[in-house]
Symmetry: C2
Subunit: 306 residues, 2 copies
């Protein structure tokens, strides 16, 4: 099962973290961007090629010490179809290098359209006699505001193709309070969303003890993270918000179960922009990312049960 594989990889590498490939033009070492612009002009294709080179370089630098990559689709979509093509190639390269690949796409729609999104990112589409993959991530993030009939098609695809999803439950941003923390009966909305998701996927729990529907729960809300860990015993957590957004290791500790499993913590800027702090103009972006990833690993392990 997909989440079992992720959990095994995390334990084998002793590293419960993912690095986030969230490229913006200003996150790319200037030499890389300049070289592609010299070749292709000031075009979306040049930026897409720079994103891809940067992504491949980060994957090379991190694939033996970090178990997973979270690719932020928005930054690739910003470059139009060329960016989306670069994202697909970066995802394929990450899989070849053994990383567990999470597509951070946050899709969500009504039944038939949710089925199309799940086919796009996790499944296959039938063209004549051929069953073809649009993207083929290991896992994607989804938004459950539309209710269970927007989630079930993803679960069906997860079962068929051995994949997983992480649904937004309690997000890391400041205004996640506005809707997610509203009181509904005796609990808050995000708890209701979490319970709904856990119940939908209960029959997919694998050897790790977790189902194919994980939850996104931000490091910036440690109390809520603790509450969710207590209530959702069969739900694996993807924890954004560590590092640049303000979450510390002590904040994310509550996301883990008593064996130190059940969660993966993401850092994006803290790792991929580490080169901006070394004063070498980005020529050391791989070493800087590796050092930041190792520091994050040590920081997380310091708060986990051994």
């Amino acid at each position: 099962m997909s989440i079992d594989r992720l959990q095994e990889k995390i334990f084998a590498m002793e590293n419960p973290s993912a690095f986030g490939l969230d490229p913006l033009p200003e996150y790319i070492p200037p030499d890389i961007m300049a070289r592609h612009i010299a070749e292709k002009g000031e075009t979306l294709a040049a930026a897409a090629a720079a994103y891809e080179e940067f992504g491949r370089g980060l994957i090379d630098a991190l694939c033996d010490i970090v178990p997973a990559i979270k690719i932020q689709s928005a930054f690739f979509e910003m470059l139009g179809p060329e960016g989306v093509a670069a994202m697909k190639r970066a995802a394929q390269y990450a899989r070849e290098k053994g990383l567990y690949v999470i597509g951070d796409v946050k899709r969500g729609d009504i039944g038939s359209t949710a089925a199309a999104y799940s086919a796009a990112y996790l499944g296959r589409v039938q063209i004549g006699s051929a069953a073809l993959a649009g993207f083929d991530f290991d896992c994607v993030t989804i938004n459950a505001y539309l209710g269970s009939d927007g989630v079930r098609p993803f679960i069906e695809t997860c079962k068929k193709y051995d994949k997983a999803v992480f649904a937004l439950v309690k997000t890391s941003n400041p205004s996640s309070r506005e809707l997610q923390d509203l009181s509904v009966g005796t609990e808050k909305l995000f708890e209701t969303v979490g319970r709904l998701l856990e119940s939908l996927a209960a029959d997919t729990v694998g050897a790790s003890g977790y189902s194919c529907v994980g939850a996104v729960a931000g490091a910036t809300y440690p109390e809520e993270l603790r509450l969710l860990r207590e209530k959702l015993t069969g739900t694996f957590f993807l924890v954004p918000g560590y590092g640049a957004q303000g979450g510390a290791a002590k904040d994310v500790a509550a996301a883990f179960d008593r064996h130190g499993g059940g969660a993966i913590v993401n850092s994006s800027r803290g790792i991929i922009c580490a080169w901006q702090k070394t004063g070498r103009g980005g020529r050391d972006y791989q070493e800087a990312a590796r050092a930041a990833a190792l520091a994050m690993k040590a920081d997380l392990l310091s708060v986990l049960p051994r």
Copy 2:
């Protein structure tokens, strides 16, 4: 202002409807799909070319009688980057033909990532000295579960580039009840979401009386539609669920204001799959779509104030 232009177009054409380009392989007339497969094999590129030809044909058939097109991104994303490129070309063609182009992408993320999505679909990205558009829709659908800091970047982009968004409030699917109808205080969650959105965009209300942040409210819930129309006087509605999903003209009547403005009703399968009911194997897909669109227009006008 973008929504003002949409409203003017609707009044000028006397047609408050959009047609939804939601292609699945089985919605494409068999001759079109077969020709592209013969040329390019059973590939995603062949299907993408077929989607594009079908989309252009529908745009040609409808652009003088229907003011807007809603392009469902999921079905293009299902074909990977080739599909996304076909979507961009179809959107450009629709704009050239004078249609108001709504990208049904339902994106939503935290602040910096929401900014990237808004740049991708409505704004521009800076590459060196060039400001380039990834997609350049007139409008996109968004998901506000993350709260106001996930919506504000879209509003900023709307102001800067004269665009609009429709945020999910009360969706048309059966299980939209599960979360959207939860009681929060004295109202339901979807009402709270609707009020939040109306307040965020209050300073963008244009000549039409409506702001740049519209709401998606399904035809399948006429009572909720009536309630939202009463409460959200500055919010334009995009109404899915008419036709194949079960919504009738009498159900959508409540979405309109007393001048017959303030809403646009979408039909997808009812128009683009109309050829499946004429027994001519899809060779008449343009005429069938046009007849269905005219029937829908007459049906809607029959319930509106003149």
